[in-house]
């Protein structure tokens, strides 16, 4: 009897897992030699669809198993054979892809890609809800908080505030009626840790949050999840229902008299609703707009009641901490940053996916060992950490160990875990412009510095990338950055200038090249580049002329072709099409 476990998170489905699964069912339904299961994503998004074959306690992981390969795959399995070329992780020997997993330590994500997220029994079988039971039956509220404090766990949403302290504030806040929030409003471009966690192991998050509710004395909890994550919402709602049915949630949990009811609120996609006061306003049915603090949500949260708010990953760590003890968690990591951190690898990296690594690992280890380097064997130029609130860390600082303080010293932040890698072909001014354009649209529009200030900054960056920048622009950008940080109402505005500040700090020469020489060193900014045919290399094959969507490239067969600079839109199709490297960008 073989179990086939299909990675069935959004990433897998996007890569074709649904077709693969359907094919498997079509071929195997009624076949008692095979059992088909769904699971989350094991993190190797770059190789989806992924199917694990479990036989005799051994797991063979197949990657890239699109539906067209399924017949051959089953044929082979039925003969008792494996197709080694398709196996990305082998139980008996090392594989090229093994290095992706080797340096990882999975505490928060250990069940993802292993259990069926839609089946609570799978979760229970994997030690699920043991921590909750331990808490409710053997620990008092302060003991729970003490364990969490001992673990050194810091908020994984980005700010890195001590989770134990936060719980303590909420516990100590006067009032009987208290609330818990799980912030799943993941909005950073390139980040998908929360989605993958909620899709792959919803019970883990529910358990962590319920333990927190017990500790702070809350009776009601809200999951705030973006509506753009329909699968996460669906699995979460199902998981809550299953947990209630089994007595792990709702009234009189595990017969202990502890009540905690959970609700899922779908966010409408405003980035700012990740900010806790905006998120609370949104839950209350108001416009998602931050308010001034103090008072803080720990004392004045939802409907003015004490409220504790943590990120998905923070809660996902709790069951492990309770089961194994705070010390087990804190043995990983650095002095100030304990445990592990989940990251989403994106951008110009060979292996894009989700990883969980011990704090203290260097960026270089992530890029080279886990990520397999930069695509096309390029050179890494920088990594953007922390999304629009974070910054670009240049390659020469990639031996920095990942730790809240050390990353902050570079000007970036650990953030919620998005890591966007850039190669030499990335224009850093353009990157700063991109992140600013994001903030300009996602600012709630309330306070002046964020609403208008970021727009003025964006206009300057647009000027610079269009070759219209002036010498005064850099000092003006610096001034705006400084004032927006100090003058904005909430974290969104206070961190919005970071991408600009870090690129100015590490890539000032690129800004200056745009302004002074009207050149884009990365050859990215359309206003500052031209496409030209190298006469010696052009064979007159006419491919560029046929590819050009605007008729800018032209020429007679077997004659050297030309590109009309006035018509050219710098789309680069001709360069990609040319087989003789006869088109250059200048």
């Amino acid at each position: 009897m073989k179990t086939l476990r299909v990675g069935y998170n959004s990433c897998g489905i996007a890569a074709g897992a649904e077709e693969t699964l359907n094919k498997l069912h079509a071929l195997l339904d009624g076949n008692s030699n095979f059992e088909i299961k769904k699971t989350g994503c094991n993190g190797m998004c770059y190789l989806e669809p992924i199917v694990d074959v479990i036989e005799n306690g051994k797991i063979y992981t197949y990657g890239g198993l699109t539906s067209d390969k399924v017949e051959k795959f089953i044929e082979s399995l039925e003969k008792g054979k494996h197709i080694d070329d398709w196996i990305i992780l082998h139980p008996d020997h090392s594989t090229a892809q093994l290095s992706y997993q080797e340096k990882q330590v999975k505490l928060a994500t250990k069940n993802i890609g292993v259990i069926d997220p839609e089946n609570i029994d799978d979760y229970i079988a994997a030690a699920g809800y043991q921590a909750l039971e331990k808490v409710l039956k053997t620990m008092n509220r302060q003991q729970v908080i003490d364990q969490v404090r001992a673990s050194g766990l810091r908020g994984r949403g980005g700010a890195g505030f001590s989770c134990g302290m936060k719980w303590q504030f909420a516990k100590d806040a006067p009032g009987e009626e208290k609330y818990m929030i799980c912030n799943g409003d993941e909005g950073d471009p390139g980040a998908f840790m929360d989605r993958s966690t909620l899709e792959g192991d919803p019970h883990g998050v529910i358990e962590g949050m319920t333990i927190g509710a017990y500790a702070v004395g809350a009776q009601v909890g809200f999951f705030y999840v973006r509506a753009e994550y329909p699968l996460a919402v669906k699995r979460l709602r199902l998981a809550i229902k299953q947990a209630e049915a089994k007595g792990y949630s709702g009234k009189n949990i595990l017969g202990t008299g502890f009540n905690f009811s959970l609700h899922v609120i779908e966010g409408a996609g405003a980035f700012v609703c990740g900010e806790e006061t905006a998120l609370i306003a949104s839950i209350e049915g108001k416009r998602g707009m931050p308010r001034t603090r103090p008072p803080f949500p720990a004392t004045h949260g939802i409907w003015g009641k004490p409220t504790n708010n943590n990120n998905v990953e923070t809660y996902a760590n709790i069951p492990y901490i309770i089961r194994e003890g705070g010390a087990a968690f804190s043995k990983y990591g650095t002095d100030m940053s304990k445990g592990t951190k989940v990251f989403a690898l994106a951008g110009k990296i060979k292996r894009g996916g989700m990883i969980e690594v011990p704090m203290g690992i260097t960026i270089n280890e992530i890029v080279n060992d886990i990520g397999g380097g930069i695509i096309n064997d390029g050179k890494c130029k920088a990594v953007q950490m922390g999304g629009p609130s974070g910054g670009c860390i240049p390659a020469h600082l990639h031996d920095t160990p990942i730790d809240y303080e050390k990353i902050m010293a570079t000007g970036a932040i650990v953030g919620s875990g998005g890591m966007v890698f850039m190669d030499q072909g990335t224009c850093m001014v353009d990157i700063a412009r991109y992140f600013l354009s994001f903030t300009v649209e996602e600012s709630c529009g309330k306070c002046t510095f964020c609403r208008v200030g970021t727009k003025r900054m964006l206009e300057i960056l647009e000027r610079i990338t269009a070759g219209e920048g002036t010498e005064e622009d850099i000092p003006l950008l610096q001034k705006l950055c400084d004032s927006i940080i100090k003058g904005s109402l909430c974290g969104l505005g206070q961190t919005a200038p970071n991408p600009v500040l870090t690129t100015l700090r590490y890539f000032r020469d690129e800004y200056e090249a745009h302004i002074r020489e009207k050149k884009c060193p990365a050859k990215k900014c359309k206003a500052l580049i031209t496409y030209r045919v190298v006469a010696d290399k052009c064979t007159g094959c006419t491919l560029c002329a046929r590819t050009c969507p605007v008729g800018a490239a032209s020429g007679e067969r077997k004659q050297v072709h030309q590109i009309d600079d006035l018509k050219c839109t710098r789309c680069g199709f001709c360069k990609d099409a040319c087989k003789f490297d006869a088109i250059v960008v200048e």
Binding site: S443, T448, R456
Partner: protein, 676 residues
Amino acid sequence: MAIKVTINGKEYEGKHGETIRDVAKRNGIGIPVLCERAQIDPFGSCRICLVEQDKARYPVVACAAPVFDGIVVNTETELIKGLRKLDMELLFSNHFADCVAPCNLTCPAGIDIQGYVGLAANGEYPDAEKLIKQKVPFPGILGRVCPAPCQKECRRNLVDETVSIKFIKRFISDINFEKGTRYIPPVAPSSGKTVAIIGAGPAGMSCAYYLAQQGHQCTIIEKLPKAGGMTRYGIPDYRLPQKELDAEIAEIESLGVEFLYNTELGKDVTIDGLRRSFDAVFLAIGAHVSKSMGIPGEELDGVYQGIDFLREVKLGKKFDLGETVVVVGGGNTAIDAVRTSLRLGAKNCYIVYRRSRAEMPADPIEVHDAEEEGVQFHFLTNPVKIHGKKRMEAIESVRMELGEPDASGRRSPVVVKGSEFMIKADTIIMAIGQEPDVSCIGADCKVRTTKWSTFMINEETFQTDIPEVFAGGDAMRGPCTVVECIADGRNAATQIDRFLKGQELTPIPGVYSVQRGKSLKALKALEEEWKHRFPTEPRAEMPMLNPKKRIKSFVECEMGFTERELRRDAGRCLECGCFSQYDCELRQIGKAVGAEPTALKTKGEIRFESDLRHPFIMKDQNKCILCGACVRACDELHHVGAWGFVDRGYVTTVQPSFGVALQETDCEYCGTCVQN
């Protein structure tokens, strides 16, 4: 229980539950606020009340931050001042509106044009004149001869044509003379101080007008037999009748200003002599010396200099111009000279100009009127030699072509080789420019002059190197417009007044205003929208004397508007300047924190159409600073919630949900939103 609050180093008592702003306010410590409203919860959006609090990482908003025992607050640190200034500049950069109308901002004398046009539209002519006279003493003169730069910036141009700002001013002047309702300002009791003003031109007389009102005894010393300067001796009667001029000069005299005619600086009086007899001296001698072309034959009979010619005609000298007159030059003096020649009986009158029509500095209306009268223009032509025995007979000229733009941005003319040709003529009048005669101050005078032969001053104080000697007008700028000279006269009067009172001569502040587009050109994109929004209503034409008739005499050509034309034209004003400009908190705070209204450049401002659908409540999103006071008041005070924030990011607006009209919501017409 009282708690200890330290603000700016001083200890105060506070109570739990109070904000920093509460304690500061009670103790008279000013913190600017915009979004704070007494009965509504603090919002903290405007950020103008930011203060530093020693326990907080970043500045906090005073309107919302609670005090606690031992709190230390600083409200006026460099950081806070910088943030407040930038905060206002950001708000202004996004304020698609004009505090002060563009016409007013463009006027060199800063006349409240929107104000007087509005009063004229209502028939309140004496008040209109009074308003004009806050800035200029001569509405009648300016209403006739001003080149009206305001009209070029008039936003009505986007819809059809400019409002007839200049003609409206003339009408106001004329009707008040006619009805005896001219405005004569009150004069303060004598200060015992005396001022000598050299030159009875627009600058000198304006200076006297404003100084006299402060009680200072002014004596105007004039070389020529009558007052008016260039307005009398440079502008022909058909543009500015002497009786209008006399009437406005008489008003200056009526304030107690003394005129000494036929008295020349450097001959009859000296600067040092005047310094001994007067407490201050204002040099406004104008620019009455013609620049010579320096070509052979200038000594022949029948060769005149433009400005000398115009002056001598006024002084009654008879000229024998012959049949054909050629005037050289492209400015207003050239046009005045050629039209005067026509009126003196010359048959064929030509303008010869070395550049093309587009480069002519003359007012296009003047050029048009001259053409109507039969003047012919020869462009790209330049005289090089005047031929003749005793009297000139012909002008040798060359053709020119336009080359590269010069420093002034105009393309400079280049001689076409071998293009020499002759123009037969009896008289040539050269009107290529004027400059002041600064030699009158005497060789050893400490007043310095520039290489353009003008007086050098401190531009902020109008003082020459001798502190009690001031200068302005053409004599300081070189030839310029009447309105610029009047502005100089008035500003110099302000500084002289301060000087006489022993006050500091601080710079005269410019107009503080945000701008909806820096120029008419910058708003070109709005043209279609505006044509649609405002009904077209072309400008009334100025009734003119028939050209054939008018060249027979020096009678004024422009006959003036009728009252009906006037009222209709004044009603065309779009009222660009803000209704709230005098009590606008934003403007007041902006000034107070030293914000520069147009400091931050923007590209593609967001523009909104005003929402006029509600019968009583109008909303102009262009001026909204998103303080949310209306939204909050409607929700928190009345629990109606008719208003809300719509969209997010930079394009956030205040509107009822789903863009419905306010009256379609639960709006109770209570007006709380407007009050807040």
